[in-house]
């Protein structure tokens, strides 16, 4: 049904990839006692957060992200990554994502995956809010003809 309604959707690949992400977060929780929140771990690795997950563990996790993507790209199939063409888009988007995830204490992985599954009210509200803000931003950009 999704194939006809939403020609671009990849439900099976999405589900399989999602399970892999969930198992990775499970390893972090039950193995290391930590939340697999990428924004927090990245801030820790860059020295921006002075406390949190021990630096070597945060660094190992963060290094693993491109390693895993590269593994899929070379061993399984090419990985599509269509970026916005304008550098300003990347700069403004990056600044907002960096500032916002620190102020709101988490991103899609920390609040979305780890927090929702824990039934955390904070994470539920954060997730609904950032998805809503994302919907609104794309709608406004499209309506006003702002280039991406």
């Amino acid at each position: 049904m999704t194939a006809t309604l939403f020609p671009n959707a990849m439900p099976l690949a999405g589900l399989v990839g999602g399970l892999m992400i969930g198992f990775a977060a499970m390893i972090m929780l039950l193995g290391l006692g930590r939340i697999a929140g990428v924004s927090g771990l990245a801030a820790r690795v860059a020295g921006i957060a002075s406390e949190g997950t021990p630096w070597p563990l945060a660094a190992a996790f963060i290094v693993g992200l491109p390693v895993g993507a590269m593994f899929i790209a070379y061993a399984i199939a090419p990985v599509e990554a269509r970026f916005a063409p304008a550098v300003t888009t990347l700069l403004i988007g990056g600044l907002l994502v960096g500032f916002g995830t620190r102020l709101g204490s988490g991103c899609t992985s920390g609040h979305g995956v780890c927090g929702l599954s824990r039934l955390s009210p904070r994470s539920l509200i954060a997730t609904v809010t950032f998805i809503g803000a994302g919907f609104a931003t794309v709608a406004i950009m499209n309506a006003t003809g702002l280039p991406q």
Binding site: N8, A9, M10, L12, A13, G14, L15, G17, M20, I21, G22, F23, A24, A25, M26, I27, L29, G31, L32, I35, A36, S39, A42, A60, F61, G64, P66, A69, A73, V79, E80, A81, R82, F83, A84, I92, G93, G94, L95, L96, V97, F99, G100, T101, R102, L103, G104, S105, T108, H111, G112, V113, G115, S117, R122, I125, T129, F135, T137, A139
Partner: protein
């Protein structure tokens, strides 16, 4: 410690591979999900659903596994209070997510797939995180000097 680092590296690699398999390493696909009024792409729902399954099980197992398998204790965020910072941060993050189609995990994983635009976004994201730290440190300094 070596065992912990290897486990974190494995988790990060699995997470990055999952992002690549699920299509979430592609900013245009993520933007397709956020384009709710346009040519909507529901793939992200399947990814989120897939990731939540292992994590819901993991939170239940956590109740019975008193100590993490490879670490001395759980260090988990408090989930109670909802405040303006949480909401404000989620709004800013959602705006950046909508503008560029990127959140922290995919951006870092894409360093291996599309190094040039991914580096620009990640550099801006770290700058945003650093800016947040500067603003917040100044505010807490002001609070301290006000109190003394």
């Amino acid at each position: 410690m070596t065992r912990q680092v290897l486990l974190a590296l494995f988790a990060g690699t699995l997470f990055g591979a999952g992002l690549a398999v699920s299509g979430m390493a592609d900013p245009q696909r993520v933007r397709g999900f956020l384009d709710i009024l346009g040519d909507w792409d529901p793939t992200l729902i399947f990814v989120m659903g897939g990731a939540l399954v292992p994590m819901i099980i993991a939170w239940r197992m956590r109740m019975r596994i008193k100590t993490p398998l490879a670490a001395p204790e759980y260090v988990l965020p408090v989930t109670a209070q909802v405040d303006a910072r949480l909401i404000g941060g989620a709004v800013l993050f959602g705006m950046g997510w909508g503008i560029a189609g990127l959140c922290p995990g995919p951006a870092i994983a894409d360093l291996a797939i599309a190094p040039v635009p991914a580096s620009i976004f990640v550099a801006a994201m770290l700058a945003g995180m650093f800016l947040h730290r500067m603003v917040c440190n100044r505010r807490s300094d002001a609070v301290r000097s006000g109190a003394s």
